[in-house]
Symmetry: C2
Subunit: 138 residues, 2 copies
């Protein structure tokens, strides 16, 4: 079932109950949970798990490149398990939900050297904002 767990084990990641549960929670649907939501879901499977561990594990998954940290609104960060395939995000200004989108075009190519100011630019991330169908109606 879990590619993610296999990959992690293969990379020599020390496996503990807590880490497994966090990885499993993320590996489920491709939704974008906050750390607190991850904690809540992890707690239903492993009631003793602590907040610090969830933060530690999330941080580790991010630095392993298995999960992407998304900070769209200055509130809680969200964690995106779809790190395999490059994509961008469509955020609802009403309720905050996020969808992955795969637009055409490469924004990095649109940034001429003259607009780079000596930076070593490595990444371009696009955030589309709007209202989701539910919030449009409301």
């Amino acid at each position: 079932m879990s590619d993610l767990l296999d990959r992690l084990r293969g990379r020599g990641w020390r496996m503990t109950a807590q880490r497994r549960v966090v990885a499993e929670v993320l590996d489920g649907d491709h939704i974008h949970l906050t750390a607190d939501e991850v904690l809540a879901r992890a707690t239903t499977r492993l009631p003793e798990i602590s907040r610090a561990t969830v933060y530690n594990t999330l941080g580790e998954l991010v630095s392993l490149g298995e999960v992407i940290e998304v900070a769209t609104d200055g509130r809680a960060k969200r964690y995106d398990p779809n790190a395999h395939r490059p994509h961008h995000h469509l955020v609802c200004s009403g309720c905050g939900t996020i969808r992955d989108v795969h637009p055409g075009g490469d924004p990095l190519a649109d940034l001429p050297t003259s607009e780079r100011f000596g930076f070593t630019v490595s990444e371009a991330e696009v955030t589309y904002r709007g209202l989701c169908p539910d919030c449009t109606r409301a």
Copy 2:
């Protein structure tokens, strides 16, 4: 000197010493200060100003459309006085400084209807990430 202050006055914005100072701080250079930095600079001009007032005033400038709130990293929000001209941001992953950039191309046009999932998409913001000259050296 200040178009911003004139515009605000013209819109019937009640002018107080505190509001003027906050607007002046932002209106200076086109850098992107955090609320705390705004407070620090405002304090040098008007020592009695309070944190709550700075937050209130910033929030008001944002909803008047005179200032843009930029949340690039899940840490402190930054305030961008360059609301007149559409632009995107180049963020240093090392030190967090932000530069305005004006790339070619329109990312909104790159998002086909099939990738909009029924959203009413109104805006696309691009964040370029990389290392600034100083952080590249270090």
